[in-house]
């Protein structure tokens, strides 16, 4: 039998038999609804009138001038309802769950953005909602825990393994295996078993589509580079997808390097990972020589994941996209820079993309254009950044 959901040799459906019927049910439902005119209309309406799409494409004039090179645009996914790109995917998936006759959605979350978005969509569409979040992250992002509860979700603190995002994924998969008849696992990134990497990418590709249209309106041309941060890689895949065929556009994913890729405190999967099979997919993973998944680290809870979506690995191997490591220090510096320079506080995840733009913009010509995907807003990170800087603040 042919394995499905492949991006080159990556992807696939590596899940225990107990989960296969659930995964296949999603696959079948997605095939049925993805081109269904009614489904598309409903989703379009939600994206426009609930999430606030299209998001702005903002010309960061002060930043461009200060860096003295390429013209910089910011794709403002931070302005979406719930404050990040995550809403694009969850509106699609929760609507799909509804069509499938499910009554309950479950999801993992790292920084809490996907959990908040899922809880939001669940509230809107009358679904029960349970979120799994690593204990470490419930401490780092305490406010988001309360936010999810406020939205009516039940938050489970995950104490297994490293108590971060990967363990939250493990726990959500276990929960799904126990109860799949009325439940959909709303996966938060372009990862996991097929159909999730494709399905999530399809729900996120609106980002790149809008960038292309909006920039064409403003500049009458394509960007020279699109830059996005990459953990699992959903905002990056969403921003890149539309441009894959436009070979002149550099696609740059920024990984979280923590203290640096030459230390053991990093989450830069392309830089440090090896091919493996985990969380339902063949992809790159940070792991030891025995195939045990490594604990990873980043200041950003949303990028603190030892793997990466399989389509990214294919783009990397085909040399269609580049992946660069950005350290905590560089990200925090960019976080402050964008706040002061443009009055926009980006999520610490998105700050990784800003940091790389700050490196390459000065080396580019004035008629060249960089688009940075600001995947989320930074309100959730303010206390953590203060602590990073040695200020004793708690939410």
């Amino acid at each position: 039998m042919k394995s499905k959901g492949r991006f080159g040799k990556y992807g696939g459906q590596y899940v225990p038999e107990v989960l296969m019927s659930a995964v296949l049910e999603v696959e079948k439902a997605y095939e049925k609804y993805k081109d269904d005119p009614e489904f598309k209309l409903e989703l379009e309406d939600l994206l426009k009138n609930y999430a606030g799409r299209p998001s702005l494409l903002y010309e960061a004039k002060k930043m461009s001038e200060d860096l003295g090179g390429a013209k910089i645009y910011l794709k403002r996914e931070d302005l979406n309802h719930t404050g990040s790109h995550k809403i694009n995917n969850v509106l699609g998936q929760v609507l799909l769950a509804k069509k499938m006759g499910k009554k309950r959605v479950i999801a993992e979350t790292g920084a809490g953005q996907h959990g908040v978005a899922t809880a939001t969509a669940a509230a809107l569409m009358d679904m029960e909602c349970e979120i799994f979040m690593g204990k470490e992250d419930t401490i780092r992002q305490a406010l988001n825990v309360f936010r999810m509860e406020l939205l009516g979700a039940k938050v489970h603190t995950v104490t297994s393994g490293t108590m971060t995002l990967k363990d939250a994924v493990n726990e959500t998969m276990r929960e799904w295996a126990k109860r799949m008849d009325d439940t959909l696992y709303v996966l938060g990134s372009v990862m996991g078993p097929h159909p999730f990497p494709t399905l999530v990418r399809d729900f996120q590709k609106i980002i790149g589509k809008e960038i292309k249209e909006q920039l064409f309106e403003r500049e009458g041309k394509l960007p020279d580079a699109v830059i996005a941060c990459v953990g699992g890689g959903s905002n990056a895949m969403g921003a890149f997808y539309e441009f894959i065929k436009d070979k002149s556009v550099r696609l740059i994913g920024c990984e979280a390097a923590g203290y640096g890729v030459d230390t053991d405190k990093s989450a830069a999967t392309v830089a440090n990972g090896k091919t493996g099979i985990f969380h339902g997919m063949k992809s790159l993973f940070c792991q030891n020589q025995d195939g045990q998944i490594s604990p990873v680290y980043s200041i950003s809870a949303g990028l603190d994941y030892p793997g990466i979506g399989p389509e990214h690995v294919m783009l990397f191997e085909e040399k269609r996209a580049e992946y660069v490591p950005i350290t905590d220090d560089e990200a925090v510096n960019a976080f402050e820079y964008l706040s002061r320079k443009e009055g926009i506080i980006p999520a610490i995840e998105s700050a990784h993309a800003v940091a790389y733009a700050m490196k390459i913009a000065p080396t580019m010509k004035k008629d060249q254009i960089i688009v940075i995907n600001i995947s989320g807003r930074g309100d959730k990170d303010v206390a953590a950044i203060a602590r990073y800087k040695g200020v004793d603040i708690y939410e």
Partner: protein
């Protein structure tokens, strides 16, 4: 007749599960020999994985203990090899594909042969991804053991048709389900299997009480006891041997009545 077939000949097979390296690899060695002596028909040895998504909390904790005791795949192979000549019942490994993939499939299977391993169960290789291992397993004559679940439904026959060694039947992850519902589901699942295959069907059930086991044992050709055994190891640690011996003996007495 191969070793696995023999384990099921004219009897219901008792298959204890232990996690390799749980408390120590020295203990794993002792447990295997002691369980064999006390009438285990086949032993399933879990190779620890950092993220065992198909395991309950008891086995997850066993994995943690193994890593704490310095577990590595190489050390496991070395350990099993040491006692290979004393083992006359089949041993099968249970693990996750990343462990095999990263070790190198060819190298892994070679070492399995060296240790006299008869089969492997790979939790996260469903039917659709069998190509990952099927040829390499065939090359080294290691049975690639499949699982079916009550939720497999129409997939059950397709899986059973190509199953090797024995078939792991997963009743449910949630042992709190009503016993009558469990029985109906199991009967339906086995009927589908029997339509296409006479492979031994083994219950892999999170058995919390002997009473529950008695309710369903008649349907199966054998039973894998995982959490109950691992739970005893968790409780008694280095002192667990006599308790495991007693448990397996008691189990043997119960199973005898169904043979």
């Amino acid at each position: 007749m191969n070793k696995i077939e023999e384990a099921f000949k004219d009897k219901k097979a008792i298959i204890p599960f232990i996690t390799a390296g749980d408390t120590s690899l020295e203990m794993t060695k002792k447990l295997i020999l002691s369980m064999q002596k006390n009438r285990a028909d086949l032993i399933e040895i879990g190779i620890p994985f950092s993220d065992p998504i198909a395991e309950d909390i008891t086995v997850q904790n066993a994995n943690k203990r193994a890593f704490k005791a310095g577990f590595s795949v190489d050390k496991l192979f070395d350990t099993i090899k040491e006692i290979k000549d004393e083992i006359f019942i089949p041993l099968v490994f249970m693990t996750y594909i990343n462990v095999i993939y990263t070790y190198g499939k060819d190298r892994f299977m070679k070492r399995c042969v060296e240790c006299g391993i008869s089969g492997i169960i790979v939790s996260d290789i469903p039917f659709e991804e069998k190509d990952e291992l099927i040829n390499i397993c065939a090359k080294f004559h290691i049975a690639l053991i499949s699982s079916v679940s009550v939720s497999s439904n129409e997939r059950t026959e397709m899986i059973a048709k190509e199953a090797e060694g024995f078939l792991c039947c997963v009743s449910t992850f949630d042992a709190r389900s009503e016993i009558n519902k469990i029985k109906t589901d199991i009967e339906l699942m086995l009927k589908k299997v029997r339509n296409v295959s006479d492979i031994p069907c083994v219950l892999n059930f999170d058995i919390s009480s002997m009473d529950r086991l008695k309710e369903v044992l008649s349907f199966f050709d054998g039973v894998i006891i995982s959490s109950a055994i691992v739970g005893i190891i968790e409780k008694y640690k280095e002192e667990c041997l006599p308790y495991i011996e007693k448990y397996i003996k008691d189990l043997g007495d119960i199973v005898k009545d169904y043979n």
